[in-house]
Symmetry: C2
């Protein structure tokens, strides 16, 4: 399950390359793929190499506060480009695998050559960065102002928006939770217990549902209500003085 599978995985990625990369011309894609080496990581492992593209699984930037509290500041999903070359010397956390992860590690020099040679890669990268900035802003809004329930709803939509193989098989209202509760908690700024309770509450309100044997396969029962909730439809308690 190493050499050959790796290649087939590259091909597979080339086929259904998500979001910005799918607009690349065939030779750009080929150059991108041959300039990188496939790497696999087990859960918890640090990803070596600070430049690459996620092929499968979820990566996260992990940061520990002085007293041990853990935070996940960013998540990377299949198709995402991660570039942490300026990261290390800023002590801004470590990139780790939040599950079984396949990624395409890029050699910086080769990457620059690739950028210089193929005109369509540059815009794709810019688009990536802009998307990323947008997600970070959404995330900041979640963390700054939302209740646990709202954060959970929001993060479920975030999971759903992510491109990836999952989407094809399941209906549009289905979401597979790709990471552990603890990682969700560290990402949305809650404790695992609270995440658990919030999901329970969403079930209780008939907003989501899941088969008992696959609790991580969630169906969004009431999408509009979930969307409203994710956008801040449920204030903390009283004082729902909307309108100003």
């Amino acid at each position: 399950m190493t050499g050959v599978t790796v290649l087939s995985r590259q091909e597979q990625v080339a086929q259904g390359l998500p979001e910005p990369w799918d607009r690349l011309a065939p030779h750009s894609v080929r150059a991108l793929l041959t300039s990188g080496v496939p790497v696999s990581c087990a859960r918890g492992e640090a990803v070596d190499g600070d430049l690459g593209i996620v092929c499968d699984g979820t990566l996260g930037v992990e940061r520990y506060l002085s007293d041990g509290r853990r935070v996940l500041t960013v998540l990377f999903r299949p198709g995402d480009l991660f570039d942490l070359r300026r990261h290390e010397r800023l002590q801004q956390g470590k990139l780790i695998a939040l599950g079984e992860v396949w990624s395409l590690a890029l050699d910086p020099a080769a990457w620059e050559r690739c950028l210089a040679r193929f005109a369509d890669i540059g815009p794709a990268v810019v688009r990536q960065l802009e998307d990323h900035a947008g997600r970070m802003q959404d995330h900041a809004a979640d963390l700054a102002a939302k209740t646990p329930l709202e954060r959970l709803a929001s993060v479920l939509f975030e999971f759903r928006r992510w491109p990836g193989a999952d989407h094809a098989e399941q209906g549009p209202a289905r979401v597979r939770i790709p990471i552990m509760r603890r990682d969700i908690a560290d990402y949305v700024g809650l404790k695992p217990e609270t995440v658990s309770r919030a999901l329970r509450e969403l079930h209780g309100r008939r907003l989501i549902a899941s088969a008992p044997d696959v609790p991580d396969e969630i169906r969004l029962v009431d999408v509009p209500a979930m969307r409203l909730l994710a956008n801040g439809g449920a204030p903390r308690r009283s004082t729902g003085r909307s309108g100003f």
Copy 2:
């Protein structure tokens, strides 16, 4: 206080252009400045134009949740490039002035020409984006895991790190709070009352001090302790089980 001051302000900016722009060759700077038109905004006003450089004051991306809660997801300080061209159609908030603000609005077409013509501007922009991404990650970590006290300490350092004219006059351990309490609160995910109490607590612990007549001019009395606090040195209560 319009036509002439504007020009002089441009010159002034060109002189002490902060962080990434100061490394530009003189003609690059000149091109940058002549490609933009100076704009001033009063507090609360939306900034027209979605591409530009902040010259003086503080801008913020403001977002309202469905029920009226307000969040500031990003702050822009003098020297920062803001590019919200993809922002509008993603309904990701509005750029508003958090005080009296001078900025240099850039015409997208002219900007692209500038980018294409001067080789040193591109890297400066990339550096900007990377810095920005780093700050967003710091901010996410603040919001996700830190207590009000820690958030305040952190945001004070953020204010201090910002380049700007303020720095020259005051000592290195002095910070001027550039925005209102309410804006601080909406930025760090607290309520103004809590911000007030946290500042009071910092005073009480002899970590910061300020003259009674200028309460927004803060002196960092114990920088190491403040730094530790900003990095998460004070957990919520017990369970300070550091080390894992």
